[in-house]
């Protein structure tokens, strides 16, 4: 059990006990603290089986480490965020707390009512200075069938609004301020990135209460069959693809610097 709680392998511990029988425990404790400090951890991580590694961070790692070039990485579906990473040496990913997800009450509910999402950012160390934060939303192409496919124009468009929730929500009442908005066409599948830096900086730097973000998706043509089907913000949106929710659910990504060393400048492949 102790080996799972420590960053020092058992073999190393035994060696230390042999070399410094009197003071090995103290030395090992100090060395453990040095290792944890080096990695910026409080304790040894013990990932649960349910831990999910977002593909975005894997792709970011692969681009950053020079493992793939943007042009050759066909599966990498985004541009390397040079601007965000130029001042950051740490990128953190957060999924929202689903148990705190608040659906609007039945009385006020419509598919276009903003949904509130709470991201617990308390694991960001105090000494980490955030520069930017983005909310990434997955949107899935709606394949037109029949006569509707003839229409081109506003009928294809969805507006996505991202808000900061300013006060603790009450039933049917959400006090918000708009952070970012975008008009998207529902004929493509892609990730959409929204700048939520102002809200995240308020929660972290200014230590103001975090009441979450609200996401509103408006289908401009109000085609009933398309309502709530384009942007993936809810687990139950696509009944036939529950399994991919872990990878397609909203993702909050923070870019920060802990004051140690250089930013995440990209390496080119050797």
């Amino acid at each position: 059990e102790s080996s799972h709680a420590s960053l020092i392998p058992e073999e190393g511990k035994k060696k230390a006990l042999g070399n410094h029988p009197g003071q090995s425990h103290e030395l090992l404790r100090d060395f453990e603290a040095t290792l944890l400090h080096m990695f910026g951890l409080q304790s040894r991580p013990r990932p649960s089986r349910s831990a999910v590694v977002p593909q975005y961070l894997v792709d970011l790692y692969r681009l950053q480490s020079g493992e793939v070039e943007e042009a050759e990485g066909h599966d990498v579906s985004f541009e390397y965020p040079e601007k965000s990473t130029s001042r950051a040496n740490t990128v953190r990913a957060f999924h929202h707390e689903e148990h705190m997800e608040q659906m609007p009450s039945d009385r006020t509910y419509s598919i276009e009512t903003p949904l509130r999402f709470f991201f617990n950012l308390s694991s960001i160390p105090e000494d980490e200075l955030l520069s930017t934060a983005e909310l990434r939303l997955y949107r899935q192409q709606i394949k037109e069938l029949g006569l509707e496919s003839q229409h081109v124009g506003n009928g294809d468009l969805h507006r996505i609004n991202v808000y900061e929730v300013l006060k603790p929500p009450r039933p049917g009442q959400l006090i918000t301020r708009l952070l970012d908005t975008r008009l998207v066409s529902h004929n493509t599948t892609s990730w959409e990135s929204f700048d939520v830096s102002p809200a995240v900086l308020r929660w972290t730097h200014e230590r103001l209460p975090n009441h979450g973000l609200a996401i509103e998706v408006l289908h401009l043509n109000r085609t009933p069959g398309h309502q709530g089907k384009h942007v993936r913000i809810s687990r139950s949106l696509q009944h036939n693809s529950e399994g991919d929710w872990d990878q397609l659910r909203p993702l909050l990504v923070t870019f920060g610097h802990d004051g140690k060393g250089h930013p995440l400048t990209r390496r080119t492949k050797r």
């Binding site: 960053l7 991580p45 013990r46 349910s50 790692y61 990128v91 953190r92």
Partner: protein, 113 residues
């Protein structure tokens, strides 16, 4: 074929390969990528007179000179003089995924200091 004799192996301070496999140190459960990395290490003699390429400090040059006169004073040490960073993708204590750039993880050059 005859053994090569008379050719003295170069034992001077230089960089050697050292691949750190995260599964060997038991960190593979929380480090997602890379699985390991080439860290290198520095090893070798810092003999008198120190060669230019050993990237020595003035202090190391003087210490080596004194060592040549008095062996009670040790030679200069072969240590990393240039290091570089690597990126690591890992799960932290709260199961959240972090991509972080860690400084001074890879030896780029060794010297006598």
């Amino acid at each position: 074929s005859p053994k090569q004799r008379g050719r003295k192996r170069n034992r001077n301070c230089r960089r050697h390969a050292l691949y750190v496999d995260f599964s060997d140190v038991g960190w593979n459960d929380w480090i997602v990528a890379p699985p390991g990395y080439q860290a290198y290490y520095c090893h070798g003699d810092c003999p008198f007179p120190l060669a230019d390429h050993l990237n020595s400090t003035n202090h190391a040059i003087v210490q080596t000179l004194v060592n040549s006169l008095n062996s009670n004073i040790p030679k200069a040490c072969c240590v990393p003089t240039e290091l570089s960073a690597i990126s690591m993708l890992y799960l932290d204590e709260t199961d959240r995924v972090v991509l972080k750039n860690y400084q001074e993880m890879v030896v780029e050059g060794c010297g006598c200091r």
